[in-house]
Structures are given as C-alpha cells and as structure tokens.
Symmetry: C2
Subunit: 338 residues, 2 copies
Amino acid sequence: MRATVLHSPGDIRLDELPDPDLVDDTDAIVRVVASCVCGSDLWPYRGVNAGSKPTQIGHEFVGVVERVGSTVSDIAVGDFVIAPFLYSDNTCALCVKGVHSSCVNGGGYDGCQCELVRVPWADGTLVKVPGNVDEAMIPHLLTLSDVFPTGHHAAVSAGVTAGSTVAVVGDGAVGLSAVLAAKRLGAGTVVAMSRHEPRQEVARSFGADHVVATRGREGAGEVKEILGGIGADAVLECVGSADSMKQAFQTVRPGGTVGYVGIPHDVKLNLPVMFFTNSNLHGGVAPVRAYLDELLPDVLDGTIAPGAVFDQTLPLDRVADGYRSMDERTAIKTLLRP
Amino acid sequence: MRATVLHSPGDIRLDELPDPDLVDDTDAIVRVVASCVCGSDLWPYRGVNAGSKPTQIGHEFVGVVERVGSTVSDIAVGDFVIAPFLYSDNTCALCVKGVHSSCVNGGGYDGCQCELVRVPWADGTLVKVPGNVDEAMIPHLLTLSDVFPTGHHAAVSAGVTAGSTVAVVGDGAVGLSAVLAAKRLGAGTVVAMSRHEPRQEVARSFGADHVVATRGREGAGEVKEILGGIGADAVLECVGSADSMKQAFQTVRPGGTVGYVGIPHDVKLNLPVMFFTNSNLHGGVAPVRAYLDELLPDVLDGTIAPGAVFDQTLPLDRVADGYRSMDERTAIKTLLRP
C-alpha cells in the first residue's frame, strides 16, 4: 500500500509499504476513506521529539472495514467507521471511568495517512456510522477521530457549562473546534484569540462572540474587559507552547479553569500564582472514544458542522504539500484522500 | 491588649499592643473567644517567608462583636461570629463567583491570636451563629474559620462526589478535616495516608476506611491496590511540600484530580505526565466564606464534629508552648483561649 513516512525532519514521503495484516483476533483492517494532518504531526515534522529512523505517521481517519479478527463482533466488514486516534478496549477500569486515552490495553496506530490501517481492539475502538454516508458528510465525520473531540475535551475539562464565559487560546483547528464545542455546551460569551483573518472567520462561523487579536498581558486585558473585568471562567488552551499556556493563565479569572489539550512543550507553570488565585489546570490527551456517542448524533443531524476546519483537500500523493502548507500556516488543516 | 507577635523565627511572644480601633465605616471590632495555631503559621515560625520585623500572627478565630462601624447592618454588637481567615465584601464579581479568597476588597487580619481584632467589611465577612453558643460547640465553630472549610475545599476542588474513591495526603489538621469533608460529600472509599497513630485514630473517627502508613511509590501502590488497581479518583493534597505533591500525583488515577490546599513550597510538577494521564490540579486558598452557609448547619446540628482536630487547649499566655508542640508534632492543632 501507499503510506506516508516521515524520513527526517521536513522530509515527508509517500512510500510503498506492505499491507498490514490481522495480528490479534480482536483486530480489524480498515481501508482509509479520508485522513488528515494534525498540528501534533508538525512537532516531529519540525524535528521536535522526532524519531531517528523513517516512521509511518498520521492518527486521524475514517474508513470502511475490510477484514475483522475472529472475535470481533460489533464491527463488521463493510461498516463505515470513525477511528478515534488511540485504540482502546472500552472495557477496562479506566475506559469505564471515561479515560480511554489511558486504556490499559490502549495505544496508537502505526500511521494512517495511507490506504490500510490495522486497528487493535476493533470492537472497543471503532464507532460505526449508521446508514449511508454522504460524501459531504465525510469531513465532518473525520473531525470526530481527533480534532473536534479534542476541542470538546478542552471545553469539558475547563468546566464549560451553560452561561460560562470562555476564552480560546490558539486558532489552529483544535482551537477553532474548541470554540464550536464551547458554544455547543451552552457557553455564554466566547472570545477567540486569533491574529489571522481566515481563522477569525471560521471562529465567528463557529459561534465566537468576540475576536481578540492582541496577545500577552494586553490581550488578556482586552478579554477581561469584554468579560466584565475579571477574566474568563474557562480558558481553552489549544496549543501547548510556553507562550500559550502563559496567555491562558493571564486570561483566566480567579477560581476559573484552564482546559488544556495541546501537548505541553517547555511549559513552566507559576504554581504560587495558580494557588493564590485558585486557577485550575485540567485536561490532557482527549479520550475521544468516550465522547463519540454524544457527539456523533449532533454531526449526523447537522447540529454542528465541525468539518469547516478543513480548508485544503489533497490526494494522498500530495501529502508533502499538505504538511508544508500547514507548517507555513497557509492551510488550517489538510484533508487527505487516498 | 495582649497579642501574639512573631519576633523572629522560633521567637513567639505575647506582647502588650494598643487595642485596634474602627477605621472604616464597614469595620467591626471583635473580642476573641477562641483562636488557634495553623500549620501555615509554622512556615514563618520556622523561618520560611518570615518578615524582617516583629509581626502579629494568627488568622483563625471566633468571637463576640464589640463595636461596629456606622454602615454595618447585618452584624450587631453582641453577636457570636465566625471569622473566615480572609475578609471579603461578599458582593464583588469574584465573591459572586464564590472566590471570596480573591475578593477585590479582600485581605487578611493584622493577627488574631490576641484579644481584639479589627475586621474590615464586617457584613461581608462575619457569619453570625444563631442562638446561644454552648461552650462545647466552640472548638467545632472555630474550625469553620479555616481548617475545616480548607479540608472541604480540597475535597470540592478534587471533585469528590457520591461514591468517589479518595486518598488524603497529609495527616495534619487540614488533612484530617479533608477526610471528614470527603465523607460528608458522600465519598465511597477514603484512604488516609498517615504514619502517626494518634492522627490515624482521628482519621478513622472522621470516616477514613483505610489508613496507609507507607509513602512514596510503594505507598501509592498500596492505595491503588485498595482502590481497585487504578489509583484514586480524587487525591486531597493537604501539605504543600514537594514530596506531598509528588505523592499526590503518584496516587491519583488517570483522569483523576488532585485537590490541593497546602501553600506550595518548592513544588515541581511533571506536566508531561499530567498531560498524558489527564491528571488534573485544582485548588488553592480556600474561599471559606463561600462555604459557611452550607457547613455551619451541619456543625450546629451535630452532623459533623470537626473540632476533634484540636488535641491541645492552652491559655493565650502559653501561646509559645502551642507553637512549639505543633512544630514538634506533639500536638495536631492547638486551641488558644484569651
């Protein structure tokens, strides 16, 4: 099969690799219908946390089940499925608590910006989309494998509820998804912090009530002014950099919560300030599988249309262009079709 | 009046100071009926964060109102009152959100291990105890000025709810209060981590289902074994040291929350591990005033008897002995009567 391989920082290629095979009885092989590039794929692409040898890459996809292991019973050949970006058994003590991202049998795929993916624990992992899947629905369904539930996790972690005041730090696809997720949860006022016009537009279309382009203490001051002078009840930190986390804690009100979903890189927390202001930190890797039963119906009935985060669609053999445009921020998020 | 003054680390004296006077129209002067020594008083006593000149000390007390400013209307001369350890106006945007510890007009007293205290924002701060106050009720009411609501804040911050599995790190008066608070909130299994027999006994009397005397990874392993192998839903961190915070994160389950109420000293957080396990950090300075309407009735009707944290009562002129016995851990918490 054709599969995307990161050979070294900046060197993304579509290689010919052997088709994956069933290994365990609980596996499925899924033929990819659509995959995409994640902001977190850019870290190794840029040489941060990069491995030393060529590695398959990609973790977000939807597809059609092609083969199943002998004990797979809930998922069948021909099903159109959403694959959460981590697999999980959905039965262990941690899955039962809703922390599928820490499933005792869980892990990541070998890569999915390719044609075929082996999915361990297929019954526990894959979510079947009922009925016929319209072509126009594919981008929206694809967001359910990672980016939208990750934005949702930021909002849930930050305790967003009806009437909450919310600020979103980060205008990548996750940040934009967080805007939509916060509004879906009933947030009152949502302020998107963004300096990029096309992203501001998506944020507004997702329900952002205000956009603040200024950063740092001054930007936090603008947000506070919008939100009655005290800062946001909930700040959704969707980047993971030292600057963005600092921005988040500058923007949250005393007693409020920063919900963070960007993998932290060189972040320093000011714990004494957090303590004396009761500013909480909640979040981590999104347990995508835990949220799909709740989110899928809203996507299928059109209540939300999270696929608007995709502003570039490329055939798989142009995957390197997809990485380049996301790296250069000329694309928000790139969808790949094999 | 006689007032406790910290002259230099280890040098606590009862000095003669001028009586406090009303300054603002919103002030009250309260005659102290009982005060006590807090674990946090021991930090400056031991020379950590100590000021450079003699300073009045103490922040937990109950008493009888002796004078009120001209605009004080809810509190009257003769009222028996609980004084939350920080004053607050109870009307600002942050008080309305329940974060009285960040009140825009808030602050701390000049000290209260003495005879008379000036209380700013008396209406917003003081809580009147209805009816006659029985002598036996005084220790329980005194805990409401800080130590019990602080334990309660650890439990609330950690999200303790019906059936939660809980571990409490720290067997000082706050840790013991946290055991009682967790049980009051309906926690399922509560494990108290304590190596000291008298404190273990109080923990058990407050509802701890298990006591684990081992610390570090091994102690966390024992807690996990008790709690079904995955760690605690909620860990209540009631110390504030590097070791205790490390213990807390070793003991919490993925997706669980550490509720912390001990002022952090030299704590280092392992943010990547927190992120990949969704281990959350909530808490800070307890907004005592926010909790009193809920907690006072349970104390008055005997549902809870948090005063059991006091195992030493001394007259005020022996305050130095009180500090010494808490510093040497021969007393859990010392109550002072003027």
